[in-house]
């Protein structure tokens, strides 16, 4: 079964800034002060455009991530969600 996250609407956390780097980007969360490395330019593209798409799957497609890799990307995004680098969109509206 595909990860339900793929069908949900997500966004980059408003407290997070992305700094481009040769390997991808560095993400810094000004609230919890966590520094995270996004080690693939594709992942950076996905994270940057999450907010523009109705669901994560659409963001992956728009960033040219082949479907075979969607599960792996969903797992990576869940990792990012653990430290609030990205968050579900409803929560942002509530915050």
């Amino acid at each position: 079964m595909p990860d339900p996250l793929l069908g949900e609407a997500w966004t980059l956390s408003p407290a997070v800034a992305l700094r481009p780097e040769p390997f991808g980007a560095l993400a810094y969360h000004f609230g919890n002060r966590k520094l995270t490395f996004l080690k693939r330019p594709e992942l950076v593209a996905v994270v940057r455009c999450l907010a523009e798409h109705g669901c994560v799957r659409a963001a992956l497609e728009a960033s040219g991530v082949p479907e075979a890799q969607h599960a792996a990307y969903a797992a990576a995004l869940r990792g990012l969600a653990e430290t609030d680098m990205i968050r579900p969109r409803e929560r942002q509206a509530a915050a």
């Binding site: 780097e21 040769p22 390997f23 000004f30 002060r33 520094l35 490395f37 996004l38 990792g79």
Partner: protein
């Protein structure tokens, strides 16, 4: 400006995606930038990494400091480790702190606690993006004051109490590990718990005045082993930055014994120092002409020095191999700390002076020339704050706080 001598060559696979390999090539801006705001200090710690004491008359002005902050914001340097000297004795310290956090540059500052009154503690508790590290080098006054000077333990504890009282959460207690205090690790932990603080352990490097006392203060080999075991047991509760990656060679050869944190010397690649007069060095523990990359006033700004200095280009380039690259533990230990080697007069492409295989001791016993210090802001004469141990030494001492270049740094990447 000189180029760094040969250092060990990492066995790097072409286009590796390992983060350490990326880091060795350098980043567009530092991750772990330390900024020493002043060489002035009220204390005279025996092991001060920056040989602080007296204010340098060329110290950057308030306006110059703000211009540096503006540039850090443009470069997206998300936070800076502020130290000294004692940064809080700069009259504009609080103004600069507010300016930095208002410009998306978070501040982690190290202090001996001297200016952390209840009022200041309340101000800090109400300010976002500020971290406070109180330097404490003994869990008891006896052990602490031995190196940091009389009264310094009480000052630090009072500051911790003021912070806790004001509701400041998660202050750091920053400890330089020495032969004298390594037996107190559990006591330090208890102290941190008592004040709602996090313990941060850093390595004693023979930098600044630390060179004068390193032989007496640096941990014995069996203590290093105990420290490693303690860190393995408590790794997720304490911060260590990049302090102890040379100890990872106590673990198995496959590198699985590596400690959390960055396991590589980040000098000039992800780590950097701006000193009080705007000189830019590869690392806070490498304040020496050999590691001076340029001056941000004279050389067109910090970003330009970071991107274009010859020294940094050299530190980021693949290096010729040395004795260490043949070591089975090279992948996790990577030859240890450049500054520790340099200031003990050891070759930079050889083992760390505290190499856990014992090669450092052999090297120390051999022929070597300890480099003369290239700058010293120690106070000229003894004062009442002088630590007692220094009365035996010939060079006049003074103070500051050891600053890990990778304070609180967590390189865990989810991808």
């Amino acid at each position: 400006m000189t180029l760094a001598p040969a250092r060990p060559a990492p066995a790097r696979a072409a286009r590796s995606t390992r983060l350490v390999d990326q880091f060795e090539l350098g980043l567009d801006a530092p991750i772990c930038l330390t900024w020493e705001l002043t060489y002035a200090c009220n204390l005279e710690c025996a092991h001060c990494l920056s040989s602080s004491g007296r204010r340098d008359p060329r110290e950057l002005t308030t306006e110059q400091c703000k211009a540096v902050i503006d540039e850090l914001q443009r470069m997206q340097v998300f936070y800076v480790n502020v130290g000294g000297g004692e940064p809080t004795i700069r009259p504009d310290f609080w103004e600069l702190l507010e300016y930095a956090v208002a410009h998306d540059v978070g501040v982690k500052f190290s202090t001996n606690g001297v200016r952390l009154t209840p009022e200041r503690a309340a101000f800090l508790a109400a300010t976002d993006y500020v971290d406070v590290q109180i330097s404490l080098d003994g869990a008891t006054a006896e052990v602490n004051d031995y190196v940091r000077g009389p009264g310094s333990y009480d000052t630090a504890i009072q500051a911790l109490a003021n912070l806790q009282e004001a509701g400041f959460r998660d202050a750091k207690i920053s400890v330089v590990c020495t032969r004298q205090n390594l037996g107190q690790l559990d006591d330090f932990k208890a102290l941190a718990d008592r004040y709602g603080a996090t313990l941060r352990l850093t390595r004693l490097r023979p930098s600044g005045r630390g060179a004068d006392v390193w032989d007496e203060l640096h941990p014995l080999p069996e203590q290093q082993r105990e420290l490693y075991d303690w860190l393995v047991a408590h790794g997720d509760e304490v911060l260590t930055g990049d302090s102890f990656f040379h100890l990872s060679a106590y673990g198995p050869e496959d590198g699985s014994g590596a400690l959390p944190g960055l396991n590589l010397c980040g000098a000039g690649r992800v780590v950097c120092l701006i000193d009080p007069v705007g000189d830019v060095y590869a690392c806070p523990f490498a304040i020496h002409d050999e590691f001076l990359a340029g001056n941000l006033l004279a050389d067109g700004g910090f970003g330009r020095v970071w991107r274009e200095s010859e020294l940094f280009a050299d530190l980021r380039s693949p290096q010729t191999g040395g004795a260490c690259s043949k070591c089975a533990f090279f992948d996790s230990c990577r030859g240890g700390c450049m500054a520790a080697k340099f200031f003990t007069g050891l070759p930079l492409d050889g083992p760390d002076p505290e190499c856990v295989q014992g090669y450092g001791e052999q090297a120390l016993a051999g022929e070597r020339v300890v480099p003369a210090s290239s700058q010293d802001h120690s106070k000229a004469g003894p004062t009442r704050n002088q630590p007692v141990m220094l009365q035996l030494l010939t060079r006049p001492p003074v103070s500051a706080c050891a600053e890990s270049p990778l304070a609180g740094f967590d390189p865990q990447a989810p991808s």
